[in-house]
Every structure is written in C-alpha cells, then in structure tokens.
C-alpha cells in the first residue's frame, strides 16, 4: 500500500526497512503493555488480599478509650481518690527533631518552668519513644488557646485532655490509699503476666502503692475501643465503631477518714504508727503511719527534689510503719502471755508469785523495773502493774515452743494478709526460727535464757503494729479472728453490684470464755487503776488496755534516764487497747517511736481515738503528756 505511493525519494529497501522497524516497534509496544498488564494482574488479583489488608491497616486505627479509674471513698462515702479532667501539653519525641528547640519555642508561648523540663527529661528516659510525654500539665484555657493558634509551628506537640487522679485529702491516709504513677517496665511485666495487656492499651498510669496498687484491676475498669478512619496525616476522619469503656469499680473502705485524720493529728510531729480495727469484722478503721506524704506529688511523675526530700528524710515518710515497722512489743505482750498461760494450764488466775524485783536464771539476774519488786503478784496484778518477774517465770515454765505455738495462732510473726502489698512478717522467736535465721551452728542453738526475756516482749520479739492490732482485736472478739482489711466492699460500676470483702473470720480460736474474760478484766484494770489509768481517767466508757515500752538501746546495767539519751535512742512507746469493754467496737495498737513510756505518749493517742470513735468527741487542745514512771 505504502509501496504504491512510493515517493521518488525513498528507495524500496529503505521503505521496507522502515516498515520492518514500525512493526518491530508495534510488537515492542504490545509486549511492554502486556508486561504492565501482567504487573496489574499480579497486584490486583494475585496479591489483592494482601494489599486490601494493607489498605485497611492504613485507614483504620483502633484507638483505645481509657476508662475512668474507680473512685475510692471511706466508709461514710467521703471521697479519698477521684479523677478530674485537665489539659496537658504533650510532645511525641519521635516526631520532633530537636527537642530542646521545640521546648524553648513552647516556652516563649506558655510558661515552661525548669522543673517541668526536668520532669519531662526524667519521663523521657523512662518512656518508649513513640509515647507522648507531658511537658506541661494543667494548662489554663488561655494557654490552650495560645497554643492552638500556633499549633502549626510545633509538629509533634499537641494538647490533650486527660483525666488526672487527685487525692482531695492530701497526706491523710496516704499510706493506706497509696498513689498512682506512670507505668514502668516492671508494671508492664506484671500486666503481661496477668494477661491484662489488651485492657491496658492506652493506660499510662497504674497503682504503685496502697489500695491503688492492691486493687489495681478492680479500679482500672475495662478499656473501650473506637475504630476510626484516619487519613495519611493520622487525622481521624470519622468513627467506624465505638465500644465504650467501663469505669473502674468504686471502692468503699472500712476506714473512717475523720477518725484517721484525728489520729494523724494526735501524732503531731512524732514518728509512729496506729492501727485501729473493728474487732467484729476485721475492718481497719484507721491506719496511721506518721509522718506521711502527699500522694498528689506522684501523679504526673514526682519532681526529683520532692522525691529526694521524701526519700532522704531521716523520718522516712515513705515507710508504712503500720505494715513494715517492726517493734518489740514490750509489755503489750503480757496479756497474750497470760492468756497462753491459762490456755496451756501453766497458771490459774489466782496463782501467785512472790516478786523480789528480779528473777535469777543460770547465774543471770533478770531485773524487774520496780526496785524491790511488786510483792505478791497474781495474774490480774501482773497485767495491771506490768510485773516483769511474773512473766520471766511464766516464760521459763512454758518454754519457748509453747509460747511460739500460741503466739503463732494469734498471728504474731506472720503476715496478717491485709489487703496491701509488701507487709513485713516480723519475728516470732522459736528454735526453728533461730535455725533459719542464723548460719553458724553455735548461733543456731536456742538457749533457755533467751526464753526469759521473750516473756516480757523483749528479746528477739519483733512485730508490726498491724499484727499487734489484730491480736488485740482477736482477744477483744473472744478468739474470733479476722484478716484485717481496708476495703469494705467493691461496687461494680455497670451493675451496681456490691462485693463484700472478708465476711467470714479467718479462724475461731478455741479459748475458754472465762480465760478471755480474765485477761480482758485485767486489761480493764490497766485503764482504771494501772499504767493506763491516767490516760483514760474520766472516759465515758470502759476500756481495756496495756502499755508497753520497747527498748531501742540496750543498757547494760545502770539507770535508764530518757532525758539524757538522744531522742532517736529513746525507747518506743506502745499501747494496745479495746473499747467499750463489754462489746468492743474498736481495738487499737499504737506505737510512738522513741516516745519513751507507753503510758506517756501512746496511751493518750488511743484515748483520743476512742473518744472520737465512741463518743464523737474531738480532743481538747494538744495531747496532754502523762508522766507515769512505771510501765
């Protein structure tokens, strides 16, 4: 065809060659386009499912919705821990090239204090890089507006509305309530182990101590999810599905927060602990560890200067003395020893001893702290006047094994199982304990002489205030023993269903009622005519108690002159008590560190607690210190 029109200027061979090349080009074009077609087939048919998934992953983002943490209230409904919403300014470090420059830039817009920078840096060290980290918390409306207007200048920085935990009463009951703080590696492991990882997506705070820690999973609630369609810039376009979160359960504590507050005030600036228990339930009415701390400091990550202050203070405010302070019970051990004597048949109430003021054993003289002794002493008098000789002899007669067996049943030297983490065991001395405790064979042997001072609550004896309170409550409750607990019931936020904690007693100790009666009587005697009489003079109720002094510094002979000793070497003052005696509603153990005699500093605190709890009376003025000399 083309050849027919063959112009003069193109030879046939040239034209043929051209046509050949055109055909060749055509074939090449077809092949190349077929290659593209194959590629499309591969992508759109063979790999279609894979790319569909990729596209869906691109566009759909599952955003966890963090549930509101459960509220904690005291037995009357007073709020102890709650949430409030506030704006924070947060930086996602992975999206920011120059953190310093960004923070400097933000600092020109809104106030960023050096402490904010320090906290940011600390959180940065602890966190994963893709998290957003607050540089400023609690922005004012004006600050939010200021930042919003300049947002485009700060990629990777955003304002977030977050819920913050707040403890409205500050340091009151902080050891019991505890606090929350940002999740760290250890917490993450714990979450993984408990198979709660899915529920903690999006959660960045967790209970670190106290109730907040122990009841973490109840307080946390169920995380909700929102499926959102996002664009390439990560902006949410629309919501595809929404599963609302379920708020964490509400915890109602056994604590009476007014009682707690009053008890803490009663301590003033003295170090010590107090545990008040409702004997009929084991519910803890007050748990004081003084000094305490403000849990609100911890919520956004504690500032390092605050932390240093709390951590390095010689008063150790972060130590929960009620659970982790271990003290020799001193004379507060005597009523339990007496009960053991009755139950084991080693003594009858009327059986008397003659007290010369000392007890000789194997060439060693154990002295009574009343020179010349108490004369003829029966069980009642031994408790009321706190006669040491009576108990030296009793311990010797009973033997260490019987003592350890009886005291073990009362919970001494064991964790009470209170609903808080990290409780100490204390030391219930026994030959077995010594074997476990010491390594060298000569140290492992139990000497009969060591039993003697166990009888008056000294020696290796070392118990936590909560153990002492539990034992006191058990005696007050005639041997029906409860596990002490802080949470009364848990209210499910969805169903409103209440789950009671610890309704059944731990065990019922088969004590003879008349034996318990004898001990209680003697303890009533302590508060009417004995070492506690001064503190409980004029109380509108009958109460039973026992004072105690725990030696911090052992004096080899010589007189104990407390005023001459340095304050921190003075003895610890102890007091246990229950009231009203006929039907005890409250049992208490008080320890005042370096408080000297129990009657002097510990008993008045118990009096104030009882007055308030039983009569609703607030203490008049400052705690009056008694100057009772004997113990």
């Amino acid at each position: 065809m083309a050849a027919n029109q063959s112009p003069l200027n193109a030879s046939d061979s040239e034209l043929r060659r051209f046509h050949f090349r055109v055909v060749l080009a055509g074939v090449g074009v077809v092949l190349a386009l077929a290659l593209l077609g194959t590629r499309f087939f591969y992508l759109q048919v063979v790999q279609h499912d894979y790319y569909t998934t990729r596209a869906e992953d691109n566009r759909i983002s599952v955003v966890p919705i963090v549930p509101n943490r459960g509220v904690i209230v005291d037995r009357d409904g007073t709020v102890l821990a709650r949430n409030y919403s506030a704006f924070t300014l947060e930086i996602t470090p992975s999206k920011v090239d120059d953190l310093e420059a960004t923070i400097d830039g933000l600092g020109q817009l809104i106030e960023v204090l050096p402490k904010d920078r320090r906290r940011f840096r600390k959180l940065l060290d602890e966190s994963k890089n893709f998290e957003s980290i607050p540089i400023r918390t609690r922005l004012s409306e004006e600050e939010v507006a200021k930042f919003a207007a300049n947002r485009y200048l700060f990629p990777g920085v955003e304002v977030k509305a977050r819920l913050f935990r707040q403890y409205p009463l500050g340091p009151i009951a902080s050891h019991a309530i505890g606090y929350i703080n940002r999740i760290n590696k250890r917490d993450l492991e714990m979450i993984e182990e408990s198979e709660q990882a899915a529920n903690y997506k999006g959660t960045d705070h967790i209970g670190k101590t106290g109730i907040e820690q122990k009841y973490e999973f109840a307080l946390h609630g169920e995380t909700g999810y929102e499926q959102v369609e996002i664009d390439a810039g990560g902006r949410a376009i629309r919501s595809l599905s929404h599963t609302p979160p379920v708020q964490g359960s509400r915890l109602t504590l056994t604590l009476d927060i007014k009682l707690q507050e009053m008890a803490e005030k009663a301590f003033g600036d003295r170090r010590g602990a107090l545990v008040a228990i409702e004997p009929a339930t084991g519910g803890i009415l007050a748990m004081v560890s003084n000094p305490s701390f403000d849990p609100n400091l911890f919520i956004d990550g504690i500032r390092s200067d605050d932390w240093d202050l709390l951590n390095n203070s010689p008063d150790r405010p972060m130590l929960n003395r009620a659970l982790n302070g271990t003290y020799p019970p001193g004379s507060t051990f005597k009523p339990f020893m007496a009960l053991a004597a009755l139950e084991t048949g080693k003594r009858t109430p009327g059986q008397t001893i003659s007290d010369p003021g000392f007890f000789n054993f194997a060439g060693h003289q154990f002295r009574d702290d009343k020179k010349g002794g108490h004369g003829t002493v029966d069980m009642y008098k031994s408790i009321v006047q706190s006669c040491d000789t009576y108990y030296y002899m009793l311990a010797n007669d009973m033997g260490i094994d019987a003592i350890a067996r009886f005291m073990g049943q009362l919970g001494f030297g064991q964790k009470t199982g209170v609903d808080l983490e990290g409780e100490s065991e204390g030391v219930l001395p026994s030959p077995e304990w010594k074997k476990r405790r010491f390594r060298r064979p000569e140290q492992q042997k139990w000497f009969a002489g060591e039993t003697i001072s166990i009888g008056i609550g000294q020696g290796y004896n070392s118990y936590t205030p909560i153990q002492l309170a539990q034992a006191t409550a058990t005696v007050a409750n005639n041997g029906v023993m409860f596990r002490p607990h802080l949470v009364k019931y848990i209210t499910d936020s969805r169903t409103g269903e209440q789950t009671m904690i610890e309704r059944e007693p731990l065990r019922r100790l088969p004590w003879k009622p008349q034996h318990v009666e004898t001990i209680k009587n003697a303890m009533i005697g302590v508060n009417t005519q004995g070492t506690g009489a001064r503190a409980f003079a004029g109380a509108g109720y009958t109460s039973g108690g026992k004072t105690g002094t725990a030696q911090v510094f052992s004096l080899k002979g010589g007189d104990y002159k407390s005023s001459r000793l340095k304050e921190h070497l003075r003895d610890h003052a102890l007091f246990i008590a229950f009231a009203p005696a006929e039907q005890p509603k409250i049992a208490v153990a008080v320890v005042v560190e370096n408080g000297g005699f129990g009657a002097q500093s510990a008993a008045p605190i118990a009096r104030m607690v009882f007055d308030y709890y039983l009569l609703g009376k607030l203490p008049q003025g400052a705690a009056k210190e008694d100057d009772v000399e004997e113990d």
């Binding site: 065809m1 759109q44 894979y50 596209a55 691109n58």
Partner: protein, 368 residues
C-alpha cells in the same frame, strides 16, 4: 445558504481531523477527568482547570493538524535553537525549586523550556534526516546524535530525569526510524551497559535513592519509598473491579501522593480495578497503534520518522508512568498522557496528536 455555509465550515473544521485518534484521545480525556474529579474531590477548581487545559489542548491539536508537514518542518530549526537557548538561560539564570533548576522566570509567569524540547528535538532531527535522506552517511547519524545529546545533557543536568528521558527517547526514536544501523544500536546498548556503573556515580543522590527504593521500598517506608508503597497498595487493593468511583480509601484519605498528577493511575486503579486498567491499556495501545499505522502510511521521510517518534514517545510516557506507579520502574516525573492533571503536558501531547493528524491528513498532498 446558511446550511451550505455551515456544511462548508464543518467540513473545513474536520478536514484534517483523524477521527480514530480524536475518539481515542477524547475517551482517555473523559476517563482522566472523572479520575481527576475523584482525586481532587476537595478542590472544585482543579476539575474546571483541567477541563480548560483539555480545551486548550484540543484547540492546539486542531490547529497543528491544519498545518501541512512542510510548514511544520519550517519550525524545526527555529524551535530547536530557541529551545536550546532557553535551556542555556535556565542553566545560568533558572529558578531553583527543590534543588532543581528547571524554571525560567518571565516576570509574570514561569516557563519550563525543557517541555518545548519534547517536540522541538524530534522535529529538528526529523527535518535533518529529511534533508539528507538520499545520501545518509554514518556521520549524519553522529551529528543527529550530537543534536540530541546537547539538550538531553542540559535537561538531565537540571536535573529533570523524567523530561530528559522523554526528550532522549523522542530523539532516539527519530534516529531509529531513520534507519540507524542495528550494529550501532547494538554497540550503543553495549556502551550504555558498560557505562552503567559510571552513570550511577553521575546520578544525584535523590535519583540513586529512587532506584534503591524501587528495589526495596521498605528500606525507607516514610521517605522515598512511601510513594511506591502507597501506590502499589492502592492498585493492589483495587482488585478486579475496583472499589468504585469516589470510593478509593487510599485516594480519599490522601495516602497516595501526587494523586491528581503523576500518580493518577493509582487512583484510577484503586477505584476501577484490573478491568479499568485493562481498558486503559487497550486505549493507549490503540492510540500508539494508530500512530504507528499513520507512520507506516506516511509519504515522506520527515512524516514517517516524525509520526513514528511521536507514537513511540506517547508509549514511553505511558510505560514509564505506569511502570513507576506500579512499582517496576524508579520514580521519575512523567505524567500519564491525557489523564494526569496539568496543562503543559496536555498541550505538548495534544500537539503530538495534532502532528500525527497533520501527517495523516496531508499524506496525499505531499510531493516534495
């Protein structure tokens, strides 16, 4: 009377229009408009602007079709010289945008002279071969190669690899159709293969990166690999029949970069699937095939090599663009003919189609 006038006017209007070329082009343009609409759903002005671009393109096409090839040939040398001068001006005075010196400021607007060379280079070379048709010697090919290499080098230097490839290809096709010996072609290919390692060192960093990310896009998923990853996801997730017009999630959630320009195929593939791609490939095949047929039927050397070059250039646009969007070729700035948004490429391509029309409609008249 009026009817007669109108009839004459109509016949005058359509005299040099090649119906198959026009129909295919209009079909692709229509598909292009719907795709641009989807890709720029949030910006109404884009659709209107592209419609105007197309109108301008069609007018240019028609106008060029009216010019007989011998008139076209007169433009060969002046356009080439002008183009070259502008390229040299760009080299010295061009505006730098994103590290590349491609634009020349005219005060009120900016122009990209390299675009002109896409037509000027094949035109010039076709003229050159036409002039020496009877006594083509080896040196003519050498000179032709030099005429091609000069603008190619200047454009590649800007750097604008996409345009350089298109200009180089258009020029090469002319030389190829003019009858360059297979030995030389083979030799050139061998030299090219041997020079690859050196070429690698000559490439700009960003160009090297593009080639590397082609081999494994996941090495830089948020950087230069992002384009390829997102566009292949768009294509693959489109499946056999696509997600439906305006329903592409990759498109509408803005995962596809440059979605109304160079990557418009990803938008089309996502919403129209393999079926749509097949139809589009067929349309381009028909367009290129019609062009090659026109070349085969052409009566002069100029007409033959020019038509062949224009046709294969069109194919080159399609192949390079589709190859890059589907992840088999590196990312270079080459638009998809009559689909991608943008006036410059549209007019250039329309002029190309106009040249084909001119060559075809004037084939019987030419006797030089």
């Amino acid at each position: 009377m009026l009817q007669q006038f109108l009839a004459r006017l109509w016949s005058r209007l359509v005299a040099h229009v090649d119906v198959p070329l026009l129909l295919i082009t209009l079909t692709i343009m229509a598909i292009g408009l719907t795709t641009v609409f989807s890709a720029t759903y949030d910006d109404d002005n884009r659709l209107l602007a592209q419609t105007l671009n197309m109108a301008v393109g069609l007018i240019a096409m028609w106008a060029v079709a009216q010019l007989p090839p011998q008139k076209l040939m007169r433009f060969g040398v002046p356009l080439y010289v002008l183009g070259l001068l502008l390229l040299i001006l760009v080299f010295f005075f061009g505006i730098k945008v994103n590290g590349a010196r491609r634009w020349l400021s005219l005060g009120f607007t900016r122009v990209q002279p390299a675009e002109l060379l896409k037509i000027a280079v094949p035109l010039m070379l076709a003229c050159y071969f036409h002039k020496h048709e009877a006594l083509l010697k080896f040196r003519h090919y050498v000179i032709a190669c030099l005429l091609l290499l000069l603008p190619f080098a200047l454009i590649a230097k800007q750097p604008d690899l996409g345009t350089a490839i298109l200009v180089g290809a258009a020029g090469f096709y002319v030389i190829f159709f003019a009858g360059l010996s297979w030995w030389v072609i083979g030799g050139l290919l061998a030299v090219a293969a041997g020079a690859t390692p050196f070429a690698w060192t000559m490439l700009h960093d960003y160009q090297r990166k593009r080639i590397l990310t082609l081999i494994d896009p996941t090495t830089d998923p948020l950087g230069s690999g992002y384009h390829i990853i997102q566009s292949t996801i768009a294509i693959g997730s489109g499946g056999s029949f696509g997600k439906g017009w305006l329903a592409g999630t990759q498109t509408h959630l803005e995962f596809i970069p440059e979605r109304h320009t160079d990557f418009i195929l990803a938008v089309f593939s996502e919403e129209r699937g393999l079926l749509g791609n097949g139809i589009l490939l067929l349309l381009y095949l028909l367009l290129v095939g019609r062009g090659l047929m026109i070349a085969a039927k052409a009566s002069t050397v100029f007409a033959r090599v020019m038509a062949g070059s224009v046709s294969l250039s069109l194919f080159t646009y399609v192949f390079v663009n589709m190859g890059m969007v589907s992840g088999v070729l590196p990312v270079v700035g080459v638009p998809l003919p009559f689909m991608s948004y943008g006036g410059t490429a549209l007019v250039t391509l329309s002029v190309g189609i106009g040249i084909l029309m001119s060559i075809h409609s004037h084939r019987m008249l030419v006797r030089t």
